[in-house]
């Protein structure tokens, strides 16, 4: 510990880089992918308009991936999320158009529906003992059927509700004295930066109070400036167009909540423990079945939310909704560094993973790359990420 104190700034940065190589590679990969598409599209990819668009498109994948990350950490899988999202989106459309339920009550009902689906699949896994792969594969069949059944008589349902459609197409309102730039977005950016610096400072103080080693002042300042710059650049880009999309707000809130639960609470500890060694977790007094059940309820509830976002994005419910969503969610988690053997993973990194996946989709669409090639490219990036992950992660005896 004392050695670290005497390190030069350069040495400290190198050490930092070495210990976090896995995370940094992911950020670098994202930047490289974004730079590549910006170059190929003459800046079209990085334009304020397209970035806003990208966020609106990526929202439902990010939400699905957050739920999937927890499922993968505890060494299960959920193959049904795609059609659960599709089915829940269809139910939302039906409630609003055929039963005249208002959009907010609709969303609540659909989320409860998602939770019940999760309860059903989680019960199969934890109480009946059906492997998650099988239980959710069966779910994939069933919810696909339910989706097409529910739209059988009407075909695609157009959703007229403005509030609902704003979720994935709208932006937060601006202050009344609007300028060219979206002022509220910039203000939120500043608030986020201040909040981040405040919480980081507090954590640092707290550590110093306990006499723990903290990074040197120089490194801390570099880190803070870098993070602040990233936040402000993104916020400025968004302010230059129409401001923060509602999707970003929703994803942000879900991400914040899940990150808090996983990193700060007992439940989060239990999730990692179960993924690391479920038998040891059981003997440590953790109710493995209950935590597993919660994870399934959470993933299906988030799938329902993703269904709402997707339906809102298309402003309609279609029988094709949900096709292949689970693949994007699983790929996002793994690209985001969830260990294939379970027990390791972070939802914040999963978001980066889903940005990688959605940047690929969006960028290749802009470039006019055919869908067949898109799948192949995504597959290659996916396998490179996982292979790199396995090679860099030191095996534990």
């Amino acid at each position: 510990m004392n050695e670290q104190k005497n390190m030069s700034l350069g040495q400290e940065l190198v050490t930092l880089l070495k210990t976090n190589i896995r995370d940094y590679m992911m950020y670098i990969a994202l930047v490289v992918i974004m730079a590549f598409f910006s170059w190929r599209t003459n800046g079209g990819f990085i334009s304020a308009r397209n970035i806003s668009n990208l966020i609106n498109q990526a929202g439902y994948v990010a939400i699905l991936a957050i739920g999937m990350t927890i499922i993968l950490i505890i060494k299960h899988i959920d193959l049904s999320v795609g059609y659960v999202a599709g089915f829940c989106g269809a139910v939302a459309a039906i409630l609003m158009t055929q039963h005249g339920v208002n959009e907010w009550l609709t969303i609540l009902i659909v989320l409860i529906l998602g939770a019940l689906i999760g309860l059903y699949q989680g019960t199969l896994v934890t109480r009946v003992g059906v492997p998650a792969f099988v239980a959710t594969l069966a779910g994939q069949f069933m919810f696909r059927g339910l989706l097409s059944l529910s739209l059988e008589s009407t075909g695609t349902i157009i959703v007229p509700n403005k509030g609902f459609n704003a979720l994935s197409n709208g932006f937060i309102p601006d202050l009344p004295f609007g300028t060219d730039l979206h002022m509220l977005t910039l203000i939120i950016g500043v608030v986020l930066v201040v909040a981040m610096i405040y919480s980081q400072l507090k954590e640092r103080r707290n550590k110093q109070k306990y006499n723990f080693q903290v990074s040197s002042n120089a490194v801390f300042i570099i880190k803070m400036v870098a993070f602040a710059a990233i936040i402000m650049i993104i916020m400025y880009t968004l302010a230059d167009y129409s401001g923060i999309p509602w999707t970003a707000v929703i994803v942000g809130v879900v991400l914040f909540a899940y990150n808090y639960v996983l990193n700060q609470t007992r439940l989060g500890r239990y999730v990692y423990g179960i993924g690391g060694n479920d038998q040891a977790a059981e003997l440590s007094g953790i109710n493995v079945k209950r935590v597993t059940l919660y994870a399934f309820i959470s993933v299906s509830t988030l799938a329902a939310l993703a269904g709402v976002l997707f339906t809102s994005r298309l402003q309609s419910a279609t029988p094709q909704a949900g096709l292949g969503f689970e693949l994007d969610a699983i790929a996002s988690s793994y690209i985001g560094g969830v260990a294939v053997s379970g027990g390791i993973g972070r939802v914040t990194n999963t978001i980066i993973g889903s940005l990688v996946i959605m940047s690929l989709t969006n960028g290749m669409n802009l470039m006019g790359v055919g869908i067949s090639y898109q799948y192949i490219v995504k597959g290659i990036i996916f396998i490179i990420a996982v292979a790199f992950d396995i090679r860099t992660r030191k095996s534990v005896r």
């Binding site: 510990m1 707290n206 550590k207 109070k209 306990y210 723990f212 808090y260 700060q264 609470t265 007992r266 500890r269 990692y272 423990g273 690391g276 060694n277 038998q279 040891a280 977790a281 059981e282 003997l283 440590s284 007094g285 953790i286 109710n287 260990a339 027990g343 390791i344 030191k394 534990v396 005896r397």
Partner: protein
């Protein structure tokens, strides 16, 4: 005059941040039994992995000279081609396959492109005869006990025509009888010309069987002792291993009075639905007083671990058909590990890697996981407090690691065991069940665990110690129960207990059954 089958010269093996082997020299004579001893982390297993090609040529420095030639093993297959076989502590058999399939797994007997199963069965039977295992080659491995599985492993090695056999703690999981059998078999193999390297912590076995003993400490060769020159004592080996004299293997315990009965089982009968509803525990009556260490001795399969698991929240899903459990005189019903923990009971698993620790997590995580409620501030876990607590236990019981952020999977067996104990100390239970607390850990670490046990009972805790090692049970227990075939066959005070009496009780039930 000496004919060396193997010479390892100036072997250096480095891992990030650690020099595991530092210029080790190791020579084995043809046809001898060579015991390799040393504390955990001394480098024994690493040395054997270098030899067998697990760490391929190029990842270490130095030379391996085998039969006079320098070897550059790239993989285990390379070393096996030279008739070197290694049998690990964790057996590498496939439980669902038959004995003959296992014995020839990886080097099947083929005729044309097809496996010749008839020939395989005949030859497997020969190999089983050689290891004196009287079993049907077509039975499944999982139907055998650990001791016999060990024999199957050796049969497998023999089927490869092995000339140099490496055994990594072969008797660690075996009871006294099986151990004696195995040692006898190793002697017979020696007669038939097989050279054996045996890693072991059981010094009594080593002094009984070894021709040469090499001691490693901190990644360096300390000495090689020729056992034919003079009578080697356990004390001498220990001295070389730890670098100091150890007068007493069992630390003395301060005289203290026992309190009231802290834990009691009455008429405890348990059925295992997974084993066709067989009764695995019959009318067990035991008790422990406050401040007492009670030993629970018995052969492998006597039902000791099953007893512990059925008591500790019954996580294995047994059916408890009769009986009552009391903590401090009050009847309790533990329906989960959590309720047992909350009720003041803790269980240190015999299988620290399998169900005791979470290897991919760090020391602080493992120490605190069973008692996170003690670290809560609001809804979140206080991570600074967590580090403080973990550091306290790390220093207090001397867990050797650079920091509490070290992954548990990277610790030596003894230190892993200490993490397990620290985890339950942090829970502060009234009654602690220790299941094989010193399995596979070295003399120095054993002494530390014993000292820790003394400290805990002096503070008023009650300990039930399950162990297969007779000397340990006799050395540490204030009182002991002997179990056989799920029945308590005897109760002895420390004064009454002798190895002979305990063994007689331990095999008593076994004779009647089946």
């Amino acid at each position: 005059m000496s004919d060396y089958i193997l010479e390892m010269r100036n072997i250096v093996k480095e891992f990030p941040g650690v020099r595991a082997l530092d210029n080790v020299n190791f020579r084995v004579q043809r046809g001898e039994i060579h015991c390799l001893v040393g504390e955990n982390g001394a480098g024994k297993s690493t040395l054997m992995k270098v030899l067998s090609g697990v760490y391929p040529h190029g990842t270490y420095e130095g030379d391996i000279v085998y039969n006079g030639e320098v070897m550059n093993f790239k993989s285990i297959a390379d070393s096996e081609a030279k008739e070197i076989a290694i049998i690990y502590q964790e057996l590498a058999l496939i439980p669902e396959l038959s004995l003959y399939e296992n014995i020839y797994y990886g080097h099947e007997i083929v005729k044309g492109h097809k496996i010749d199963w008839n020939e395989t069965i005949v030859r497997a039977k020969e190999m089983l005869d050689k290891v004196r295992l009287n079993a049907d080659p077509s039975m499944k491995v999982k139907e055998l006990g650990v001791g016999n599985q060990q024999l199957v492993e050796i049969a497998k090695a023999l089927s490869k025509n092995v000339k140099l056999l490496i055994l990594d703690e072969p008797t660690a999981a075996l009871n006294e009888d099986d151990s004696q059998n195995l040692l006898q078999l190793i002697r017979e193999l020696k007669e038939s010309g097989v050279t054996c390297i045996m890693i072991s912590h059981k010094l009594r076995e080593i002094t009984a069987i070894a021709d040469t003993i090499t001691v490693l400490r901190d990644g360096a060769t300390i000495c090689s002792i020729d056992c034919h020159e003079y009578e080697v004592t356990e004390a001498e080996i220990i001295k070389h291993m730890v670098g100091r004299e150890m007068d007493n293997i069992y630390p003395p315990r301060a005289e203290h009075e026992f309190g009231d009965i802290a834990f009691e089982l009455k008429d405890w009968t348990v059925v295992d639905p997974a084993k066709d509803g067989r009764e695995i525990l019959h009318h067990v009556n035991i008790n422990v007083r406050k401040g007492e260490i009670v030993g629970l001795q018995g052969l492998m399969g006597a039902g000791r671990t099953e007893l512990a698991l059925s008591v500790f929240g019954n996580t294995a899903g047994y059916k408890i058909t009769s009986g009552e459990m009391y903590m401090d005189g009050k009847q309790v019903h533990f329906k989960s590990a959590r309720s047992a923990i909350d009720g003041g009971l803790a269980y240190v698993s015999e299988d620290r890697k399998g169900n005791g620790l979470i290897l991919i997590q760090d020391i602080k995580y493992n120490i605190t996981i069973a008692n996170l409620q003690a670290l809560m501030s609001g809804t979140s876990v206080n991570k600074n407090e967590e580090i403080m607590q973990a550091n306290y236990y790390k220093d207090s019981i001397n867990i050797k690691a650079p920091s509490v952020e070290q992954l548990v999977g990277n610790l030596s067996g003894g230190n892993q065991q200490k993490v397990q104990v620290a985890k339950w100390m942090f829970v502060k239970p009234n009654v602690l069940i220790l299941d094989e607390p010193t399995r596979g850990i070295d003399v120095g670490a054993k002494f530390e665990i014993y000292t820790l046990m003394n400290r805990l009972v002096e503070e008023g805790m009650s300990i039930i110690m399950i162990s297969s090692e007779l000397p340990e049970v006799l050395g540490m227990s204030d009182r002991l129960y002997v179990m056989s075939e799920g029945t308590i066959t005897g109760e002895l005070t420390a004064e009454e207990a002798t190895e002979e009496r305990v063994m007689a009780m331990a095999i008593k039930g076994g004779a009647q059954d089946e």
